[in-house]
């Protein structure tokens, strides 16, 4: 059978592989190469060694964006997952209207980042105007604005994954704990939490990589204002490429660093998930 399928390589596999090569593989390899060169149009690249990386790491805007992104990611991941888990618990306890509530909480996840950004810009500015302020008066407002936006977008999504996890906890395990005299908090800590660990791992990494790579929401909500203080990594890379002539090489170096960080996060996730699977 293999042989007869193999004859149809050009029909089955070639179109996708061709698109993948041209649109991903070649640009990716070219990108790594260009991060070690100075260029403006790809064709005029001259080798500069690690100079772009040195420039990137001594670039105040990049370091500021890195720190802002890390801070934002930590705060968002914790708040999203705590709130989503609590909502999931409540929804699995209640009986009335569970489906309706699930539908409502999940909805913001479908709205695009640019639209989300402008929705929350209106609301946050509307609150701040009472104090004669706007979101761009202080970088803290932009920070918390992004955190609120991200919570609104992702809570429902994470909640649904948690609900699936909670519903998979065997009923007799709960009953056994109850008979042994465990109170509700104890059951949550010693039965529910360990049993939903796989869901927690998934949600942690989903919210982590979504927060870390955020671009559209950042662009629409503050666009980095005031004075680029609320610029996240992805936006800073974009600005370096398209806002600063002669810095394309540095932009590519920043992008490569960004890639390495994202890949590290994914690698850690893979190792943790693998270890869990072995234990089970």
């Amino acid at each position: 059978m293999q042989k007869s399928i193999k004859k149809y390589f050009a029909l089955f596999a070639l179109p996708t592989i061709l698109a993948f090569l041209v649109i991903f593989v070649i640009p990716f390899i070219l990108g790594i190469y260009l991060s070690f060169t100075k260029f403006t149009t790809v064709n005029d690249a001259t080798w500069v060694g690690f100079r772009n990386y040195v420039k990137a790491f001594s670039n105040k805007e990049f370091l500021n964006a890195l720190w802002f992104t890390v801070k934002f990611t930590v705060v968002s991941v914790i708040s999203i997952n705590v709130l989503a888990f609590l909502l999931g618990l409540l929804l699995t306890r209640g009986k009335k209207g569970t489906n309706l509530f699930r539908t409502i909480f999940f909805m913001p996840n479908l709205i695009g980042g640019i639209v989300l950004g402008y929705i929350w810009q209106l609301i946050i500015n509307g609150v701040l105007i009472h104090y004669d302020l706007t979101m761009t008066s202080n970088a803290n407002y932009g920070f918390w604005g992004l955190v609120i936006l991200m919570n609104w977008q992702l809570i429902g999504y994470m909640m649904i994954i948690y609900i699936a996890g909670i519903q998979n906890v065997p009923k007799d395990l709960m009953e056994a704990a109850q008979i042994d005299g465990a109170n509700r908090f104890r059951i949550l800590r010693s039965v529910t939490l360990p049993m939903v660990m796989p869901s927690i791992t998934i949600c942690l990494f989903l919210s982590l990589s979504n927060s870390f790579k955020l671009f559209d929401q950042n662009l629409a909500l503050t666009a980095g204002a005031p004075a680029k203080q609320t610029t996240m990594l992805a936006l800073d890379i974009y600005n370096t490429f398209y806002g600063r002539v002669g810095w394309e090489g540095v932009g590519q170096a920043k992008a490569t660093v960004f890639f390495v960080l994202v890949a590290l996060i994914a690698l850690v996730q893979l190792v943790i998930t693998r270890r869990k699977e072995v234990e089970n």
């Binding site: 059978m1 293999q2 399928i5 193999k6 149809y8 029909l11 089955f12 596999a13 996708t16 592989i17 698109a19 993948f20 090569l21 041209v22 649109i23 991903f24 593989v25 070649i26 640009p27 990716f28 070219l30 306890r93 209640g94 009335k96 209207g97 509530f101 539908t103 409502i104 909480f105 913001p108 996840n109 479908l110 709205i111 695009g112 980042g113 640019i114 639209v115 929705i119 209106l122 609301i123 105007i129 429902g156 649904i160 994954i161 998934i202 790579k213 671009f215 559209d216 629409a220 992805a234 890379i237 974009y238 490429f241 394309e248 590519q252 992008a255 490569t256 960004f258 994202v262 890949a263």
Partner: protein, 277 residues
């Protein structure tokens, strides 16, 4: 029994209040889309009344300003064709590399998996240059670009599913005289339907909402909905808030309608994608 019922009731009330809070941002935008542009920033939480209401003026003005309907048409065109192409071609590719075992197939498979962890910014600049060079910077070419970028996750999801299909099914059909092409379309593809729905939904959500890729590739000549909305912001921070509110509403409405119709598939698809990815 009585106690359990009371508890149910309390949870229901809490959830109801939370749902209203959750939905309020959308309603606030909707209300403001009927107000004059100078009243929106100052008093966004007041209902439109006689002196602040402008009827549908924001809608007509915004639609004209952004050429919204052609942006809408462009979004539909790019999303529908890209997703159709991705679902069909990546299903075929996944079947091929799963069934034809060998070094080549496994290298290709791991390259697809690897591409899932690479952030867009890494290839943003070089991909845009490549697209320009190959004249892919038009609404047809962008379908090819989305195929290249969407291939990783889609092939990965399809491959996982193909592995679970017993070989005997395909072998039986092929012994009966069907070629691989017929076997795939008559037998394999229908079995793939559940995962194909997941792949389609994940890609629709990505491509419909995508901003940066179309902006860089076709943004100088064509607009999709996210581009049209960002365009309203203008260069110097002066936003026509009235038009902005109306366009936000027009951008959200199709998504909500789509969501209400395919809700079950969307939630299941997104969760399946998350758990396997």
């Amino acid at each position: 029994m009585q106690k359990a019922r009371a508890k149910d009731y309390i949870i229901f009330i809490i959830m109801l209040i939370l749902s209203i809070i959750f939905l309020s941002p959308i309603f606030i935008v909707l209300l403001n889309s009927f107000k004059g542009k100078f009243f929106i920033s100052d008093t966004p939480f007041q209902l439109p009344n006689g002196s602040t209401s402008v009827g549908l003026e924001n809608y007509t003005g915004g639609v004209a300003k952004t050429d919204f309907f052609s942006a809408f048409g462009m979004s539909v065109f790019i999303t529908v064709f890209s997703v159709a192409v991705i679902v069909l071609l990546t299903a075929m590719t996944a079947w091929y590399i799963t069934r034809v075992k060998g070094k080549f197939s496994s290298i290709i498979y791991y390259a697809f998996v690897f591409s899932m962890i690479v952030p867009f910014q890494m290839v943003m600049f070089t991909m845009t240059k490549t697209a320009n060079m190959l004249h892919l910077d038009n609404p047809i070419g962008i379908i090819f670009i989305y195929l290249g970028f969407g291939a990783g996750l889609s092939v990965f999801l399809f491959s996982g599913f193909v592995k679970s299909i017993p070989l005997e099914v395909e072998e039986a059909v092929m012994i009966d005289g069907c070629g691989p092409v017929q076997a795939f379309f008559k037998v394999v593809f229908p079995i793939l339907k559940p995962i194909a729905i997941t792949v389609a939904i994940l890609n629709v959500m990505w491509i419909w909402n995508d901003y940066l890729l179309p902006k860089l590739v076709i943004g100088t000549e064509y607009q999709t909905i996210p581009l049209a909305i960002q365009y309203l912001k203008g260069g110097y921070g002066s936003i026509d808030m009235g038009a902005m509110m109306a366009m936000l509403v027009l951008a959200i409405v199709p998504i909500i309608i789509f969501y209400l119709f395919c809700q079950k598939y969307i939630i299941e698809g997104v969760v399946a994608g998350a758990v396997k990815g």
